[in-house]
């Protein structure tokens, strides 16, 4: 039994930590977030140079052969800098599909340039009517000779506005909400008939509404087997859920530490507010939430990595905890910071907003608790 980081993980953690410390302070992050694209192209190149974009991919594909634990380490560290560069969209989401479903030619065309930082990609897993149901794919793809014609809408596509490649799940057969009948397509962002309405999200990141109006793609755009895309989509979203949970746990720890620090510095009625017992106990609750979250994250990462039958349950467990305990921890952090906590100026508010966004992503607390309630053990 060993929960310590292996050598590679320790190096990874250390290099991300150094990067955040030296090159990614809060003001820099804010400047990147407010730039046109919502992130820094230079920083993204650095990520590629440092090999971070290569972590989860096979060595044959130019990757580092990393697993969920390595991604966890990386995301938990990136969280400390509230990094806005599109790691989730490119490496975890699009990368997760490409890794699983792309053939050699597609890997060369899409995966390798993505790893090199030269091509931006994302996965449009959501539709306006879907809420959190991955199977709710109303976008259609129909045969047109050797080509496919795509029609439909994709909603809140993470980093959709800057992506060169959009991976589009579309229905090629079956009924609404069937698992079977979903096919994954790699679609160039500049395809005719594709409109992308990009916007900022409240957590300082970017997303887009994507409309596909008779978009025509060749047959070689199909990733994996026709009608059989759901399994890869589902596995990728599980990984992405773990990745944002790792980020959330990192944020929870930062918020807890900053709140404790603030409560020691800040005086009211002539004493530090950290001396008030009611606040002390609340900060103890914050600490305990961090410990529970860290524990469940480790469980979920190990279960997912080993492909254990517990994996789905573990993923829903950590997501449920992050969505509930994370929310109340975030709210307490703001409350204890008082007036300062609700200002744009202080980083605390931005950690809180990102944590809130993660709470919703890939299913909120209710969604995952429902899964756990009906799971058999």
């Amino acid at each position: 039994m060993d929960f310590s980081l292996n050598e590679i993980q320790a190096m990874l953690a250390d290099s991300v930590d150094k990067f955040i410390q030296n090159e990614y302070d809060f003001d820099t992050r804010q400047a990147y977030a407010e730039s046109d694209t919502g992130f820094s192209a230079d920083v993204w190149s650095t990520f590629a140079e440092l090999g971070w974009t290569a972590v989860p991919f096979a060595e044959d594909d130019g990757g580092l052969d990393g697993g969920p634990a390595d991604i966890m380490v990386l995301m938990q560290q990136l969280a400390r800098g509230l990094v806005v560069e599109p790691y989730l969209a490119n490496v975890i989401l699009a990368g997760g599909i490409l890794r699983r479903a792309a053939n050699a030619e597609q890997k060369e065309r899409w995966l390798q340039p993505m790893i090199a930082g030269e091509l931006h990609a994302t996965l449009a897993f959501n539709e306006p009517q879907a809420r959190y149901r991955l199977t709710s794919v109303a976008t259609t793809a129909t045969r047109d000779g050797d080509d496919w014609i795509l029609n439909g809408c994709k909603g809140v596509v993470l980093n959709g506005g800057t992506a060169d490649l959009l991976i589009i799940p579309a229905r090629t057969s079956g009924n609404a909400d069937d698992e079977r009948g979903i096919t994954l397509f790699g679609v160039a962002a500049d395809s005719d008939g594709l409109t992308c309405n990009a916007y900022a999200t409240y957590d300082g990141q970017r997303a887009a509404e994507v409309i596909l109006d008779g978009v025509c793609v060749e047959d070689r755009a199909v990733l994996g087997e026709v009608d059989d895309g759901f399994a890869d989509l589902d596995a990728t979203i599980d990984e992405a859920t773990l990745a944002v949970c790792a980020e959330a746990v990192g944020i929870m720890q930062v918020l807890k530490d900053k709140t404790v620090e603030y409560s020691k510095d800040r005086s009211q009625f002539g004493v530090p507010i950290g001396s008030f017992q009611e606040l002390q106990h609340r900060m103890v609750d914050m600490l305990m939430a961090c410990e529970q979250a860290q524990s469940l994250l480790l469980w979920a990462v190990m279960a997912n990595a080993s492909g254990s039958e517990e994996s789905k349950r573990a993923v829903s467990s950590i997501k449920y905890l992050v969505s509930t305990a994370g929310r109340s921890l975030g709210e307490d952090a703001i409350q204890i910071h008082g007036g300062m906590g609700v200002t744009w100026e202080l980083d605390v508010a931005h950690y809180f907003k990102r944590l809130t966004a993660i709470g919703t992503m890939f299913g909120d607390a209710d969604w995952h608790l429902d899964k756990l309630a009906s799971a058999s053990h």
Binding site: Q129, Q268, V342, A357
Partner: protein
Amino acid sequence: MHVTFSEADLAFQEEVRTFFRDEYPDEIREAVSSGEELPREMQIRWQKILFEKGWAGINWPTEHGGTGWTPVQKYIYAREEGNANAPVIVPFGLNMVGPVIYTFGSEAQKNRFLPDILASNTWWCQGYSEPGAGSDLASLKTKGDLVGDHWVVNGTKTWTTLGQFADWIFCLVRTTSDVARRQEGISFLLIDMKSPGVTVKPIILLDGTHEVNEIHFDNVEVPVENLVGEEGKGWTYGKVLLQHERTNSANTFRSEYRLRKLREQAATSVRGAPPLADDKNFMRRLAAVEVELKGLEYTELRTLAAVSSGKAPGPESSFLKIKGTEIQQAIDTLYMDAAGYYALPYRADPSVGEGTETLTALRYFNFRKATIYAGSNEIQKNIIAKHVLGL
């Protein structure tokens, strides 16, 4: 034991209801429904409509142009106002400094300031909090020195809501420093925002809005006639306001309106999704908030009945503040959760999401302030522990 109204009260209710139906302009109604902050000119236009109707000074005595309403009438009015989702009155003039002036001010001050306040000709803001003071209001450091016939004011006030629009500010200022209790030696000054030495610096809140400000006073000269009441007694006058601020923060009818709308929304399909009403978990959370709100409504009614029968209101205001803000925040959370992914877009193109979906998270973030301002909920609990439980 009954909650029925008298015939006269029912007639009044009908009058108020008709007013909101017929004289609440559609343009303003829509602007309020949008969920965005109401533009200043619409805010003033609405307040002037109320002034024309004679309903600007809800709490004011008739001699100063107030309504002279009974507690029950005020209650009925507030309920109809909430049901109509009418704009929230900017309180600093009409509900805060106005009452202080007509209660403690000189005749000259009454004549000079009250008419413009009532008619919403002047926009007032509040100078209470200071940087670093937070809920510990009495620790204030802004100083006024008497030099000839002026108070020379130096210091900084913060969290000044809508101060960027204000013509005047009322301030608590320390005018005597050698005092036994920190609450003494504080005076209540009225300061023209155009005075040389006044600077307004915006504070941006976490949702990106400019709503509050820091106000700096650099040797600002305030004529002695702008001191309200006695020098050094400002704390007493100021406390009256705070009490009011807290009662007001229950916002019961606003919350009721929002819950009702949320139930309506849940019954319909948004963006082609199945209605949220099919989601038992969500509806259970909604129902639990409805229960709390109904309790709060009846707690307010009980307070009202006590006041109507001549009992003085006590620390109930702390109770109403805590529960009211907790419920407000619970409703904000429900709206945000109902929007799901569509709470994420930040001030996006209105075509993204439906209705006010993309504003739900911003409101959730913005209203974290509700449990912090006007004396944090922790402070309110301290007050109840001390004054009600005797701990």
